[in-house]
């Protein structure tokens, strides 16, 4: 049975979070320009106001037909916030809400890290390590890339808790001040921004590999979800060549980058529509690399049903994605926790 390694859930009204906030903060957030911005926060592909979605439906964790990792995507938007303190309060409330409303036997929650406070986030991860409702953490992308030692407290806490990391864009990258840039400069068309999102994954993979993150955290597992996966072979060839040319400049990188990638990095099928005609591109993938691709529906946003993924990629992918999903998610889903 496949596992949906990344689907989303969000609140329909930010006011739903008020009971989970300290009283003074409730007053702070109770302003129209924030509560009224729930539509912005709910716009998962927020590459431009050009792209919008129907209002979110309420996520029913009992309705799932397969196990799923549920990411509270509205939390990702704090990578565009200027108020770093308020971001922490918001994420605390959202994470608590997610545990209360979106966790079930089949759905496990992805805990959203406050990227403005790695040390505090590490403490929170440590506190919820024994909560089986949590199956992964996610870090909203920041200009400090994931290979930086700044993230070490978060990765230390995640690996100690046995939790993998799921990375997804919030949509304000390349747009909001303080959020990570997209490649180039401000683009002249919103569709360009959407097309170029996988570069965020590429750069962070390069950062983690070349800055030695996986030597510091040998059990760390990172899924880049929603970026597709066809970009991987070209990136790996480039990483290997740069490493060969300049390995004397990065003596801490002991192994060929592609070998580390297939031990630590995962990518997801969404959007599978860009991966049609696999006979054209499949040869670029080694068997170990194919074992790093997992199913992610991206539901409820313009999602890829599993049947559609198999129709596009071929029947042999059904077992492959089931096996890969288990390899990625089961260590956390089945982890032993203290009573």
């Amino acid at each position: 049975m496949p596992i949906d390694c990344c689907r989303f859930a969000g609140v329909k009204k930010f006011e739903d979070l008020f009971p989970l906030m300290p009283g003074d903060w409730r007053r702070h957030f109770d302003r129209y320009e924030w509560t009224g911005a729930v539509d912005l926060a709910s716009n998962h592909i927020r590459v431009s106001d050009r792209f919008s979605h129907e209002p979110l439906s309420v996520f029913d964790p009992m309705s799932l037909d397969m196990e799923a990792l549920v990411l509270p995507h509205q939390g990702l938007i704090v990578n565009g916030w200027s108020d770093l303190i308020a971001a922490g309060v918001f994420l605390d409330a959202l994470n608590d809400y997610a545990l209360e409303h979106w966790a079930s036997q089949k759905s496990r929650v992805v805990h959203v890290v406050n990227p403005h406070d790695p040390a505090g986030s590490a403490e929170r991860i440590g506190r919820c390590a024994g909560d089986r409702r949590i199956a992964a953490i996610t870090i909203p992308l920041m200009p400090t890339m994931l290979g930086s030692v700044s993230w070490d407290p978060v990765f230390r806490a995640a690996t100690e808790a046995g939790l993998p990391v799921v990375i997804h864009f919030s949509g304000v990258e390349g747009s909001y001040a303080g959020a990570p840039p997209l490649a180039g400069a401000p683009h002249t068309n919103p569709l360009s921004r959407h097309i170029l999102m996988p570069h965020l994954a590429e750069s962070n993979v390069a950062s983690m590999i070349f800055e030695g993150a996986f030597y510091r955290f040998p059990t760390l597992q990172v899924l880049f979800a929603g970026f597709g996966f066809k970009w991987l072979p070209s990136l790996l060839r480039r990483l290997d060549q740069e490493w060969r040319n300049f390995r004397s400049d990065m003596p801490w990188v002991k192994d060929k980058p592609s070998a580390k990638v297939v031990d630590h990095i995962w990518a997801s099928t969404y959007p599978v529509g860009e991966a049609h005609n696999p006979e054209i591109w499949l040869g670029e993938f080694s068997e170990p690399l194919l074992r790093r691709v997992v199913f992610a529906s991206n539901a409820p946003f313009d999602g890829d049903p599993f049947t559609q993924v198999i129709d596009t990629l071929g029947q042999e992918w059904a077992q492959r994605l089931a096996d890969n999903g288990s390899a990625f998610a089961h260590p956390a889903l089945r982890r032993e926790v203290a009573a």
Partner: protein, 372 residues
Amino acid sequence: MEQTVTGARRIVDCDVHPLIKSVSALKPYFSKEWADFFVPSSVGQSSTNGFVFARARDRYPHPNTTYRLDALPPAGGPAGSDPAFVVQDLIEPFGITTALLLPQEHYGVIRFASSAAAAAFERANNEYLIDHWLEADRRFALALTVSEHDPKAAAESIRALGHRNGVVGVQLLINKSMLGSLVFDPIYEAAQEMGLAIVSHQNGSEGCYSYSQVPAGGAPRFYGERHSVLPQIGAANVVDMIMSGVFERFPELKVVMVEWGFSWLGSLMSRADYLWHKNRSAAPHLKRQPSEYLVEHFKFATQPLDEASGIREFEAMFGIPGLDRMLLFSSDYPHYDTDAPDVILGKIPEQMKDAVYWRNAVESFGPKIFRQ
């Protein structure tokens, strides 16, 4: 002539970097005011690496040298500064029919704050190369270099020099604006009018300055990490040109992307087509799917050629739809990561050899790429 190591086919090498031995060599091409401005107090009168430089070398220092030590001319000067030695070291041994010169000192213009200074420097450097390189050997061809500092002056320069024998393209420096911006329309208009292809090459400034274009995500920590993600900037500009309708405004325009890689094209094209089909109205300028513009208008140079792990991966890499119409050979002589022509050309699949060796170059630059 002795048989060359690459055989009898014509070969166009689309990436050879000339340098000037000293900034004083440009003095005859400056007005007195600009000569006084540049020559006595330029960033360096001469060096082994060119006298102006785009990359911030105290931000991303290269681990070794950017040039090949064996490419230093015996008579002195930086690697790539002696036309006769380039003939002896690259053109003759490998049977290069045409070496496209992409001048490197121009890249330092990126850092110029003054648009007038940029225009004066570019014009002088272009004229110097016409006189001293194109006149030296008919196997040299030149891409005039212009920047976005002053698009009107750039267009004038293209019209003034674009007819010179051996001038085949316009090297447009990537700086603040994406290449899809309307800012570049005067340059594209002049290039199309003169039948000159736009050439884009990394200039070294990427990720260095507050105004530079950057790779996605954040600042890479060191040179190798940065170099591994630089192709993103080329890809981003390709997408931006297509999506902003450059090729609807200039339907005859050809673009040659050099040293940005090419093996990412498969994933980029399928993603662009897929997302465009889902959101056609978001790109109102387009009349066809993005990959059709890409194959029709763009070429990509081979260097640095990806090293596939085996024949299966290699064949898939060269199986990118339309690649046989888009790929050009390039060596990047005399840089540290030069792709040796005999090695690289030997790897090109037999059915693509004519296209990659020279046919696609003719399609981009026209028959003038071969000088009589």
